[in-house]
Symmetry: C2
Subunit: 254 residues, 2 copies
DNA sequence: CCATCTTTGTGCACGCGTTCACAAAGACAT
DNA sequence: ATGTCTTTGTGAACGCGTGCACAAAGATGG
């Protein structure tokens, strides 16, 4: 033992684990619901159940933010909502641009989830000249030529890419060059970006394929209940595990 | 103490790590692109670059599937496409139902990614009677009343929920009761399902909030002042985050 | 003020996933 | 055949995330 290895090179102090960050929005949602019902306090057990996680995990997550609970009582809902919102940076306004106003882009523009939590759709951008000026979700679509100007004029740092795969990297490059440092990518492509730029991808195709894998597994277990000779173990499988982990894989088909 | 919990001997053999399963679709997409360009073989290094992962990780991933590579040469593209497709269960046809044909549901229905890889939209279901019969993406929308019948008649085991949050759990329960054992959930809700049912969720709001967290982190490192108006687009070198501790004051509001 | 009861915060151990580094395996040239 | 060169497949170490189990902290009641 005495691993004596480098004890904390850095990455601590304000370093909240990525897995925890990914769960904060989940807690926030549950807390907001409680807040709307005017529930004053909530225990880790209750909140964990509402968020679909283990209570010990939740307490540990909160411990990274500080000690906001009261032993014997629980957490103050309003206070926690504020703390998490602040930690996630939702107390400020984030202008967002959506590039690629096809079916998906339009759906995103109409998605109420944006406006509700500090996010504001600053502009909709599409490469099709015929789309220019046409209002989607009450916002007129602008042409790709305006991309750089829009980003700069609005101080946009978060961009959403909902273009076909072929255009994604090019759009990404332009967004980054114009100053965007966080990208949510719905296109089925692996984007390459310079250091300092965050990319998260969301893809239906990958999610479905993962489901298909497990589905096939389940189907195979029933019919082939011969060699294993360890039937009890099946319940342990991946069963009803909720959200994946810190990251959401994504890849759409061409 | 001394719980000495027996370390699961099972979960091996056919047990491909979840993290690996999540990457297989990524490899498959890269391989398909190579296949279309008639590239016969590919090295782990090249394929890893195309998929955006580490080559050692890729090789280990493939090692769970078996030894499909040739040392000194690489992997046979076509063969690997087949093996991964088979492993993911994509060599068979998966009928899928989409419930909730709003903006998002319609976008999903129109999404070409379904048909392209073993997935077939068997039906579109919506609770609004006015939608019934109306074709979306060439498929007539059916009313929720038909849900159970549709599931059973088509042998559907995978369901996509694109309803408002309030209806999601109810729809989920009905899908499960009718025989669906895999669910892709787009509604911002934590679904509770019985053991044996897989749920994967895709949540735009959460993804954006995670981006906002990192964005705030980046912005906070430079200066506390700056409101929007980022200087020239030289967002290139912002890396080196994780500044030395003690730089972030613990603002404690009243 | 003390006893009891509830719930937080966390030390600890465990298992999974990632990465390094290298021996084994095979292609290819001579 | 033999040697060299390329690339796979994997043993081993490491670090992160998870969950248990419990002591500390504070509320509550007498």
């Amino acid at each position: 033992m005495a691993t004596g290895r480098t004890h904390r090179p850095a990455t601590r102090s304000r370093g909240i684990p990525e897995a925890t960050v990914a769960r904060l929005p989940l807690y926030l949602r549950a807390l907001t619901a409680l807040s709307e019902r005017s529930v004053p306090t909530v225990s880790s057990e209750e909140l964990a159940a509402a968020a679909g996680v283990n209570s010990a995990k939740l307490r540990k997550d909160f411990s990274y933010l500080g000690s906001y609970g009261t032993r014997g009582v629980g957490y103050d809902v309003e206070y926690l909502v504020y703390q998490i919102s602040r930690e996630l940076g939702l107390t400020q306004d984030w202008p967002v641009v959506i590039v690629g106003i096809g079916n998906l882009g339009a759906a995103l523009a109409n998605y109420g989830g944006f406006a509700s939590r500090g996010f504001r759709v600053a502009a909709l951008i599409d490469a099709d000249p015929a789309m220019a000026g046409k209002p989607v979700a009450g916002i007129p679509v602008q042409h790709t030529d305006e991309l750089e100007k829009i980003i700069k004029d609005n101080g946009v740092s978060i961009g959403v890419i909902a273009t076909p795969a072929g255009a994604a990297q090019q759009v990404c490059d332009r967004l980054v060059a114009a100053g965007v440092t966080s990208i949510l990518n719905f296109a089925p492509t692996v984007l390459s970006v310079p250091d300092g730029v965050d990319v998260r991808k969301v893809d239906l195709s990958i999610e479905l394929q993962i489901l298909a894998f497990h589905e096939q597994r389940k189907a195979g277990e029933e019919t082939a209940a011969g060699d294993g000779a360890l039937p009890a173990a099946t319940a342990r499988e991946a069963s009803a595990d909720q959200g994946p982990d810190g990251d959401v894989p994504a890849v759409m088909p061409a």
